[in-house]
């Protein structure tokens, strides 16, 4: 089913009432920036001048990690952004909004507003707390914030009111089965239900680690295992699925996953797009989109 993917995801996100949207990925080069760009364009088309940032570095022409070309961000006038002051283009000049003491990989963070359309690079704070501060500040300058999450920096979601989009793709896993399993595990981890307070509970201070989860399973723990929020579940992949099937893990603060995006084109491999999207949609139960194909999975 052909759709304007960016607009469809933005609508789903705004329906939650969240003031911000964060795109996180199951790995590197899984289409986070492409998804963010599509959502950004949809916001601009709707007359929203959003605020953008990233955790870590994004929007550069070449991936500084692996020297591969990367999608760039062409931003329209009115857009606010939080990025390293040293990567702001000298021209066209941006409106400088605020200067922060937060450090990024490319120097101190600055808040700016695009005054003339141009390509920009996003280099946001590398820490979860820094990102939260950047989002809060952006929301003083923009009605809505869109964030490009870095590889597995799930901790950045803690304490926020964001809608979350999970990106998965062929680059991160060798087979469709593994890619589907990975995204299913990530979605299952981030989607755990809120503790309703009615059942007996074991509260976990800090993270639910693999060793703790294994111990609880071995002891046949029947109580609800309550963590502060899903980012405190330090499990991934099949291990996460295994533990979440055997333990009744609950959280005090939920995370709202609104969509999954798939990128069937990887650097080293490609998956059959519709099959991939369909299987991801079936495994996660979350609305799934292929940004490249402009399709929503049936």
């Amino acid at each position: 089913m052909h759709v304007d993917v960016g607009d469809a995801i933005l609508r789903l996100a705004q329906e939650t009432g969240a003031p911000s949207l964060v795109v996180v990925g199951t790995g590197k080069n899984v289409g986070k920036t492409v998804a963010m760009r599509a959502i950004y364009r949809a916001a601009v088309a709707r007359g929203i001048a959003p605020g953008l940032t990233s955790i870590g570095r994004d929007g550069e022409a070449i991936d500084v990690g692996d020297a591969q070309s990367k999608p760039r961000l062409f931003l329209r006038a009115g857009t606010a952004l939080a990025t390293a002051r040293d990567v702001l283009p000298a021209s066209p000049a941006s409106e400088m909004l605020e200067l922060s003491l937060l450090q990024t990989a490319a120097g101190r963070l600055a808040y700016a507003r695009v005054r003339s359309d141009a390509h920009y690079e996003l280099v946001g704070p590398p820490t979860a707390s820094g990102l939260r501060e950047a989002i809060d500040t952006l929301l003083h300058h923009a009605p809505y914030a869109i964030v490009d999450g870095a590889v597995d920096r799930i901790a950045a979601l803690a304490g926020g009111r964001d809608a979350v989009v999970v990106a998965c793709g062929a680059s991160a896993s060798p087979t469709i089965d593994e890619a589907v399993s990975d995204v299913r595990a990530l979605v299952a981890r981030l989607s755990i239900a809120r503790y309703d307070g009615r059942e007996e509970a074991l509260r976990i201070e800090g993270a639910l680690t693999p060793s703790r989860a294994t111990q609880l399973i071995r002891e046949g723990e029947k109580r609800a295992i309550v963590v502060r929020d899903p980012t405190q579940i330090a499990l991934s992949g099949r291990g996460a699925l295994h533990a979440l099937e055997r333990l009744r893990v609950r959280c005090e603060r939920e995370i709202r996953i609104v969509a999954v995006t798939v990128a069937s084109i990887g650097r080293d491999r490609t998956f059959e797009p519709r099959m991939f999207a369909h299987e991801v949609a079936s495994a996660t139960g979350v609305p799934t989109f292929d940004v490249y194909a402009s399709e929503r999975a049936a």
């Binding site: 702001l88 400088m96 909004l97 084109i265 490609t270 797009p273 490249y292 402009s294």
Partner: protein, 532 residues
Amino acid sequence: MKPGALLDDITARALEFRWLRTALAPASPYGDRIFERIVPFAPGEEAQAEARARRVAAIASGFSSQTLDAMRDVFRNAPDASNAIARASMGDTLSDANLLELQRFFDACVRLDTLTDENAALPRVASAAVVESARRIELGRAGKFGFYLADAFDPALERARSSLAQAQAEYDAARGRATAAIATLLGREVEPNEFIVMRADLNGALPDGVRVVREAPTYLLCEIEETDATLAALDRRDALATAAAAAEETVRRALTDAIREHAAALNAAADAFGEADVLVAAARFTQTHDCTVASIVSEPALHATGACFIPLELELEKEGRHFTPISIAIDDVAVLTGPNMGGKSVCLRTCGFIAICAAFGLPVPASNAAVALFAEISWLGVGADDEPGGLLSSFAREVVRLRDLLKRDRRPLFALLDEFARTTTPREGKALLVAVLKRLQAIGARGLSATHLAGIAPAAGVRHFAVRGLRGIPNRPATSDLHQALESLASSMDYTIEEVTDEAAARSDAIALAALLGLDERVITDAYDVME
């Protein structure tokens, strides 16, 4: 704020110099730079030290705590524009972020002057250079706090940007038309960059203008080619973007030149801003801890009435207890005796703390004080031997420190000896302490020596102060709760320090204290028996 030769590390730790530094820390990087350069006043600089303390006190009394806190907010929120001023001085062109830093700094200067309301104790910071530089970049103010290289700076910039915006619109329109045409031909939305076309959906060949980037068995990864029209529009846009960039750089250069012209005066304003930050921090400290200006006297001495050791006072407050202010006059080297937990060490620390405050030109935590500037303040004894000393014993470490202190021979010296030589035999310890006090007297040092050893003062020929001690035997708490025991002790202890002449009156109240702290009653009874 550096102790220089006034304190060594051990003394600084014993007298909580780090705490004092933190309590006086300024709020801005401008203040930090000034603060880092502060060293104690040296003997001979009594007038300057007292003048500075009077200036701090005038600020403390001239402004409410709310106004001082508002000033602290101004300092805290001012970005560091020093780098921008330096870059301009060196001929670099300032970035827009630099110009925002300068704008915010100028705003902070004006705001600070508004708050100081021409109080002579604080420097005026919005100098003519600040006002003129602020005026030059004011056209760039965007909203209340932002900066933008606005068209208003230069008509040429406005024209260049207008042309660029038009060229961008033309390119967007041409590109949009090409994208829309292809979307129509494919019967779906397409990404303006890369997009997928499923082979199964493709009825015939791809539309013209679509380039295949990559082929897979079931789909094609495509992108929209630039047409002649879009390429021409792109070329025009790029050329005009280059022209707009040059126009922007011309404006930045002009603004940078304006800053460079006033660089020296702006650096002076930055220093004044930092100085004000340091003074306001000291004034806030003065208000909070009710400090007073000490007379800085040229004759080595320390007289204080109602003196406090603030770090301990705050610690006691947290536990709902109170610090009993100390009054003492030290004109030479003296001995201080008294019961355990009677405050002998606290008295030493209070004196040292007051001497440090005076040395840095600060009002002191006392209701009244007259203090000299010392060349060195030195702590010997309890606490000093906590330092890792390798093969040296506690006693050896004390002796080595004393040896080095006497060798340095910085005069006038303020020496604080807390149970010096307590780790050797009482007989030899006493002999050594007496000899040390005589030596300190001989070199004109001032100070106090707290000790439990009897007969030191007459043997050394020095004055003897004593803490009055327990008014009676305090009630032992029903439980072994330490907090209750300390409260009971505090209510029974008379911390008053007075000069004594009757050596026999010195007592430690050690057995009563041990009982209060819950030591087995049989042991206490036996101890009293032995005493009798």
